[in-house]
């Protein structure tokens, strides 16, 4: 159970009280690399861990009328859980996936923080692109460069394409977030 899974679960519970099965269903739909999607058991583990840490608490369990047994347990975030989630959300992401997770878990009032994170990631991508200037592979080969050089250029070009693609995605995301922020009614009583 990764830290990311814990915070994803905590964020979802903080947004709306929910039970484990709904969480599994919800998280399964996230556009993550299949290898990164938390398994059902790791989500339940996260629930137990969060519960032990008193970051979430069981609210009630639905009663199954036929079997007269308690069914799914609904959890809500405690005040400490809300605070912990808030602190995590405001911690700068260290990977792209981490950033996506924050975007997925954030609330409307977190838009300025998200915009700053996305802009920061976008700047890092652009800086990387500015630092790269890879020749065309064909021209390097035509000049009789060694295979090692050709392979390096090949990788460099792949990276440039990837960084450029990601910059575009981040730019569009930032612009969308900025538009959302611009259309938000001003918060009442916010600092």
């Amino acid at each position: 159970m990764s830290e990311a899974t814990r915070y994803a679960v905590l964020g979802l519970v903080a947004r709306r009280p929910t039970h484990g099965y709904a969480l599994v269903e919800q998280i399964r739909r996230w556009p993550l690399d299949p290898a990164l999607v938390p398994t059902g058991s790791s989500i339940y583990k996260a629930l137990r861990w969060l519960s032990r840490e008193a970051l979430i608490e069981p609210l009630d369990a639905t009663l199954d009328r036929e079997t007269e047994r308690l069914g799914r347990m609904t959890y809500g975030a405690t005040a400490a859980g809300e605070a912990r989630f808030e602190a995590w959300l405001r911690r700068p992401p260290t990977t792209y996936e981490d950033l996506c997770l924050r975007v997925g878990a954030a609330r409307p009032e977190d838009l300025p923080t998200l915009i700053a994170f996305v802009a920061s990631a976008e700047r890092a991508c652009l800086a990387r692109l500015q630092g790269l200037r890879m020749p065309e592979v064909e021209s390097v080969m035509a000049r009789g460069a060694s295979w090692g050089v050709v392979a390096t250029v090949l990788l460099g070009r792949t990276e440039a394409a990837e960084v450029a693609g990601r910059s575009k995605v981040l730019r569009d995301l930032r612009r969308t977030l900025e538009a959302l922020q611009a259309h938000r009614p001003p918060a009442v009583g916010a600092p």
């Binding site: 260290t94 792209y96 923080t113 920061s120 700047r123 800086a127 990387r128 692109l129 200037r133 612009r175």
Partner: protein
């Protein structure tokens, strides 16, 4: 340090019949001497318009364009304006509007107000050599391939030894080796101390540029320079090592 080129809140509309079409809205940018700047945007985002405004061949409806500390649009007398424009070269895909001329003669013809024909031809030849297109000097524009046209356009733009070279979408639609040739040339020109402002349809073409702007929804845009919050390069973008 004063930037070499400054666009301040530049706006421009075109008229399509009776309908005004806003192309640029309060666009601002600074380019220092010797810098390589790139603007990327989709087709019809206004890249050519901004290139022409920066080159002083198109005047904005509003806003101010300054080159080397002087206003470009209304630089007083004709001669003064000519002297200013000689320091800016603009290379586009549009060729000469003279049929049948060799490209060398076309380039020479653009310098006749300041040079004798012989001197102009010699300069034209040197410029074509500089871009590696001396072999097509005797051909006419119509007979050139796309990549050759771009090289010739760059030769025409640098023939007067400008401080700023503006290149509009130089690599779109070109094959890999031609693209490499043109980008190498632009970076070599920049390496010789000439500022370069280039537009591109693809961001990846701007790798290695000193400054990058994106043009979308009539505005130039980039991540704010000093955001609130933190600056954390993301792992996985490579930014942690180089950003």
């Amino acid at each position: 340090m004063t930037p070499l080129l400054t666009l301040e809140s530049v706006s421009l509309r075109y008229w399509r019949g009776r309908r005004p079409v806003q192309v640029l809205k309060e666009v601002s940018l600074d380019l220092e001497a010797g810098e390589f700047g790139g603007i990327w945007g989709d087709r019809s985002a206004g890249k050519t318009t901004i290139a022409k405004i920066a080159a002083g061949v198109l005047s904005p409806d509003e806003g101010r364009v300054t080159f080397d500390g002087q206003r470009l649009a209304d630089a007083g007398r004709q001669e003064q304006r000519g002297a200013l424009h000689a320091q800016i070269g603009l290379a586009t895909r549009r060729g000469p509007e003279m049929d049948g001329l060799s490209v060398e003669a076309w380039i020479a013809a653009t310098m006749l107000n300041s040079h004798s024909w012989r001197a102009a031809l010699r300069r034209a030849h040197i410029a074509l050599e500089r871009v590696g297109a001396a072999d097509v000097g005797a051909d006419s524009w119509e007979n050139l391939a796309d990549g050759e046209r771009m090289l010739v356009a760059i030769a025409q733009a640098i023939v007067r030894g400008p401080k700023l070279l503006i290149v509009d979408d130089p690599v779109a639609g070109l094959g890999a080796s031609r693209r490499a040739e043109i980008m190498d040339l632009l970076h070599a020109i920049r390496g010789a101390g000439v500022a370069v402002l280039m537009t591109a349809a693809e961001l990846v073409e701007l790798q290695g540029a000193d400054r990058i702007w994106s043009l979308a929804d009539m505005c130039l845009d980039g991540p704010p320079a000093r955001p609130i919050g933190t600056v954390v390069p993301l792992r996985g973008t490579g930014g942690a090592h180089h950003g």
